[in-house]
């Protein structure tokens, strides 16, 4: 009946082959606001089936708390209704149709109650407390394309690739490579190898030793530049990632702060004043680069 209206194509409609008792016209449940559910299978195991139908005559109260509690109190319980009115929770209009379904047919002025108060309390606690569910039971509304629930391994891998340590390591490696390239160019511009003594060697040996010395010098420069850049990259990346994780915001200030710390660390090798100037300079440089890259 109206189960099929709501759960079209879902497993619950296949499982429940029932119809509500004593309904006159079939109640049409309005469509949920989102376009469809991927799949659903919800087992409230501790609520239903434990208390038998008691047949107490109560008049169901029309106000329903959406997230927390369902109130089917008799009209004389002013305390309960006043408590509910104090909580400013708007009721979903579609729930009133469920409430109609909860009321069985009027039989000469006596209405039968669907849920006792204890059942409702337990139901509310179940809905609020038990957010421990199997992953297959998650209902995610499908808005713009199919829903893709990531597996645990996928999430772990993604977390590893986005972690601060991995980013710092990547920056370190790339910094080393970049430093090596810059060191190579810097060394090739101005060789500082002194000329050898011409008296003891032939021309060929002189040129060979010069070449080997120049190459050695280049290698040394590349290594030293590489180490410097690797250090800068690692420190900057680690500090920026940590600051961003702490603040919880992604804006330009993270780069500035990280640049200040990095410049300070590097400049501190040559004294405090150099450290301060280095911090300011590197912070400005980092802000400029950020601005250019993310304009």
């Amino acid at each position: 009946m109206f189960a099929s209206h709501v759960f079209h194509g879902s497993m619950v409609a296949e499982q429940l082959a029932c119809s509500l008792p004593n309904k006159g016209d079939p109640v049409s449940i309005p469509e949920p606001s989102h376009s469809g559910f991927s799949h659903l299978r919800i087992m409230p195991d501790n609520v239903v089936g434990q208390q038998s139908f008691s047949g107490i005559s109560h008049f169901p109260h029309p106000s329903i708390l959406v997230l927390l509690h369902i109130n089917l109190a008799p009209p004389s319980s002013d305390l309960k209704t006043s408590l509910l009115r104090a909580v400013q929770v708007p009721s979903i209009s579609s729930l009133t149709s469920i409430q109609e379904a909860a009321m069985s047919e009027d039989d000469g002025g006596r209405r039968t109650m669907f849920f006792s108060h204890e059942e409702l309390d337990r139901l509310a606690e179940h809905m609020v407390g038990s957010l421990h569910r199997y992953r297959e039971n998650i209902v995610i509304p499908r808005v713009a394309g199919p829903v893709h629930v990531k597996t645990r391994e996928e999430k772990m891998v993604e977390a590893a690739f986005e972690s601060c340590t991995f980013k710092s390591a990547m920056s370190c490696v790339i910094g080393y490579g970049l430093g090596a390239v810059i060191g190579l160019f810097s060394a090739s511009v101005g060789p500082t190898v002194p000329l050898p003594n011409e008296k003891t060697q032939t021309a060929r040996e002189v040129s060979a030793s010069l070449l080997s010395r120049v190459l050695r010098e280049m290698k040394g420069t590349m290594l030293s530049y590489g180490k410097n850049f690797a250090l800068i990259g690692a420190v900057f990346s680690a500090v920026e990632c940590t600051i961003e994780s702490y603040r919880g915001k992604s804006d330009w200030k993270n780069g500035t702060y990280a640049g200040a710390v990095t410049g300070g660390v590097i400049g501190l090798r040559a004294g405090i004043k150099a450290g301060v100037i280095g911090a300011a300079g590197f912070a400005a440089f980092s802000t400029l680069i950020d601005y250019i890259m993310h304009r």
Partner: protein, 97 residues
Amino acid sequence: MAGSVQQQMETAKLQLVQELEIEMLSDLYNRMTAACHKKCIPPRYKDAELGKGEAVCLDRCVAKYLDVHERIGKKLTQLSMQDEDFMKKMQAEQSKS
């Protein structure tokens, strides 16, 4: 005959509970998404991907939202149960006197 009515009531109850649960969860999801999006993601987008800070903020927002939801719900249910016991006591006293 009474047994089958009982069974019908049970399945109807189960159905109702499941519907309510769906409504509640989907409402929770929508509100949580709206609230955390408003708090964590500034309106000017520079990038299609979530930055590290935004991802961290969203994690924290979801955790806090669910925690708040659970605590307040439990508190309200507890208050309602206290109110229920009070009402029962009053009714018992009334019926006695």
